[in-house]
Amino acid sequence: MRLKYPDTIRIIRVPCTGKVDLLHILRAFEKGADGVYVVGCMEGDCRFDNGNLRARKRVAQAQAILDKVGVGGERVKMFNLSSGEGPRFAEYAVEMTEKIEEMGPNPIKIAMQKAA
């Protein structure tokens, strides 16, 4: 398809979004990531029944925590698509990148640079 999407995104592959833990998301922000988004299968289509539903809950937990610590819950989001939707994958990548660019860099990253 030769689709284009922003090259600022680092893809971390997991066997199922059910593998994504709340700590994985938080650690990413602790290390300075500007945003994290989780791309799972369509709801109801999980091969492991509820992996993507668990991921959705964990994303919501991360949002709540990031809001409380001043990083901003909007920096993390869950997307759902099927494996045949390449163009939509690229659309989501663009959407998330634009959102993060609008929000600016992760304040933790700025604070870390200041402290160093």
């Binding site: 833990d21 709340l22 700590l23 938080l26 650690r27 922000f29 602790e30 925590i65 990031l66 409380k68 610590v69 001043g70 990083v71 304040p107 933790i108 604070a111 870390m112 200041k114 402290a115």
Partner: protein, 222 residues
């Protein structure tokens, strides 16, 4: 198990601000099962606090540990050699663990990271409910295995009361009437005649009303 609930992060931030190096201590028992104070919750809280204080520009070093239990000497001894390096400890154990650690490490400020709620069961993941109040005089043998002390709002020994409607308690339509459950189960067990027996007045001195309690077993004491 003892069921606890997480304290809001803001409350914990408020407790530890002003310190420079803290230890977050989880417990591998009940609070792990009810997802309030196990290794994972320790990690999440530590990560959140690190981000908060980094963002505030405050120097704060946070270490993590999860002990097998915080209600036994032997496991609490594991931090004997390292505790002095911390300005304060946040314990994610139940109130029992927090207090035992405070007794053991008298000179270290200690804060609770969870609200200890009750002794209960996991109805389903994310839903826990009370089953025992530790009254010290178990009557489950007479009440078809359903405890009216912990599950009846009035702790009635001869129920139900007039507030029981269609099997629900008057304090909440989501709460089963304990005495309805008892009657239903006695019926199922074909022991409904036992329901006719009037329960004697309960000795509440073994309950919390009798003051802080203690069990001493000379047969196992060393």
């Amino acid at each position: 198990m003892i069921v606890a609930d997480k304290k809001p992060i803001e409350e914990i931030i408020d407790m530890v601000k002003g310190y420079q190096k803290i230890l977050i201590a989880g417990c591998n028992e009940c609070v792990t099962v009810c997802e309030a104070g196990g290794k994972k919750e320790v990690g999440v809280l530590a990560s959140a606090l690190r981000m908060y204080f980094m963002n505030e520009g405050t120097k704060m070093e946070i270490d993590e540990i999860t002990l097998e239990r915080q209600c036994d000497h032997e496991y609490l001894e594991e931090i004997r050699n390292s505790i002095d390096q911390y300005d304060a400890v946040v314990s994610l154990a139940c109130g029992v663990g927090v207090q035992f650690m405070a007794e053991k490490y008298f000179g270290t400020p200690l804060y609770p990271g969870v609200n200890t709620c009750f002794m209960g069961v996991t109805e389903e993941r994310g839903v826990w409910s009370e089953r025992c109040q530790g009254c010290g005089q178990c009557i489950l043998g007479r009440t078809a295995g359903i405890c009216p002390i912990s599950r009846c709002a009035k702790r009635l020994l001869n129920g139900p009361c007039g507030g029981s409607t269609k099997g629900k308690c008057e304090i909440s339509k989501d709460l089963d009437c304990a005495w309805q459950l008892i009657i239903d189960r006695l019926k199922e067990l074909d022991r409904l005649d036992e329901y006719e027996e009037i329960a004697p007045i309960k000795d509440w001195s073994t309950e919390r009303a009798g003051g802080p309690r203690r069990v001493v077993r000379e047969d196992v004491r060393q």
